[in-house]
């Protein structure tokens, strides 16, 4: 048994996986037998080479063996096998890119039948994140970005929207009939306008406070931001957090000011 270097071993594993996947698509041959012959061929070719065998030496042998796609005529393979082959045997970053895009398209098509669509989009997001983890540097992903980034952008935009605007969601139950109950139970509100000015002021003040907290979190633990919104967090600048902080403060002041101005007569 010949000892291979770590990188040569990985190269051989990738090659044999690719060969196995491709050969299994042809019914006219025995994939296991061919794989065994290929392995023997490699061992024979490497006999006498300095051990551990380097990747360069191994790659020269693999180059002479050729790509498994050259071994079996394409017409012997069905179209669906060719797609499966690309998914199963392509380099990891491409495989995950194909999976991510397929899941996203399926998710968007299934969206009317929630939760299946949402689950598929989340699965696509996870595949994209896995591809990012696989790549040492996201900048290494070139064309794959077009397959990986759509699901990331969709999920990140949703998360961002929820993070920024969830306090506004409190307006929904207030508008949904609760105002009458509140107006009846509170003598402070003379009419509906009073009620709404109070409710909106309180919620905007809450929103302002939340944005201030969010801005401080964004300013300090940048690492958390990088992990959560990889790889786009790199584009976020400190000045954005400062702007969010200032807007938050402005909202709080505006709400407090409105309350004071409106209720000064009562006070």
């Amino acid at each position: 048994m010949i000892t291979l270097s770590k990188s040569a071993k990985k190269s051989l594993e990738d090659y044999l996986r690719q060969a196995r996947a491709y050969l299994r698509g042809s019914k006219s041959l025995d994939a296991d037998e061919v794989e065994q012959n290929i392995t023997e061929h490699i061992e024979n070719e490497l006999e006498g080479a300095a051990e551990p065998v380097s990747r360069d030496v191994l790659d020269a042998v693999l180059k002479k063996l050729g790509s498994p796609q050259q071994w079996v005529p394409e017409e012997e393979l069905s179209w669906w096998w060719k797609i499966i082959f690309r998914l199963r045997s392509g380099p990891e970053d491409w495989r995950l890119a194909y999976i991510s895009l397929t899941l996203l398209v399926a998710g968007l098509l299934m969206l009317p039948y929630a939760p299946a669509g949402i689950v598929l989009i989340l699965a696509s997001f996870l595949a994209s994140r896995a591809a990012l983890s696989e790549a040492a540097n996201p900048n290494e992903l070139k064309a794959q970005k077009w397959f990986l980034y759509p699901s990331l952008i969709i999920v990140y935009l949703f998360v961002l929207l929820v993070l920024l605007a969830w306090p506004l969601g409190l307006l929904i139950p207030l508008a949904d009939g609760y105002e009458h109950a509140l107006m009846e139970s509170s003598s402070r509100f003379n009419n509906e306008t009073d009620y709404w000015i109070t409710a909106v002021s309180v919620i905007l003040a809450g929103l302002g406070l939340w944005w201030c907290i969010l801005a401080i979190v964004l300013l300090k633990p940048r690492r958390l931001l990088r992990v959560l919104f990889r790889p786009f967090a790199e584009m976020v600048r400190s000045k954005w957090a400062i702007r969010l902080l200032l807007i938050g403060l402005a909202l709080m002041i505006l709400s407090a000011g409105t309350g004071i101005l409106y209720y000064q007569d009562f006070i």
Binding site: A19, L23, S26, S28, L29, D30, E33, V34, Q36, N37, I38, E40, H41, E43, N44, K64, L65, G66, S67, P68, Q70, W71, V72, P73
Partner: protein, 112 residues
Amino acid sequence: MDAKFFDNWTNQLRKGVLELCILNDIRNRKMYGYEIVRRLRKIEGLIISEGAIYPILSRLKRQGLVETSIQESPDGPARKYYKLTKQGEEMVSQMNAYWQAISGATDSIEKG
């Protein structure tokens, strides 16, 4: 355009000729896969990727033209030897005759 045409033509021709060469190679004695590759790679232009020989051997076996036997090797693990079956011998005889006829006819046309 000419180069592409030539590549396509040689690819089509090579596929059939490679099968004929493999069958002829094991006609007189059984051989193991790597041994066949080593012999055939000496023929210039016949093999583009050496790995292509193994799927052909497997396909020929499935078609019943060759059969295999495992034999101990003094140099290492046991080897799988390929040899022609009776059906394979008949087939290679027919193929050789056809090849001779085509080759002869092509030569005579070329010479005018």
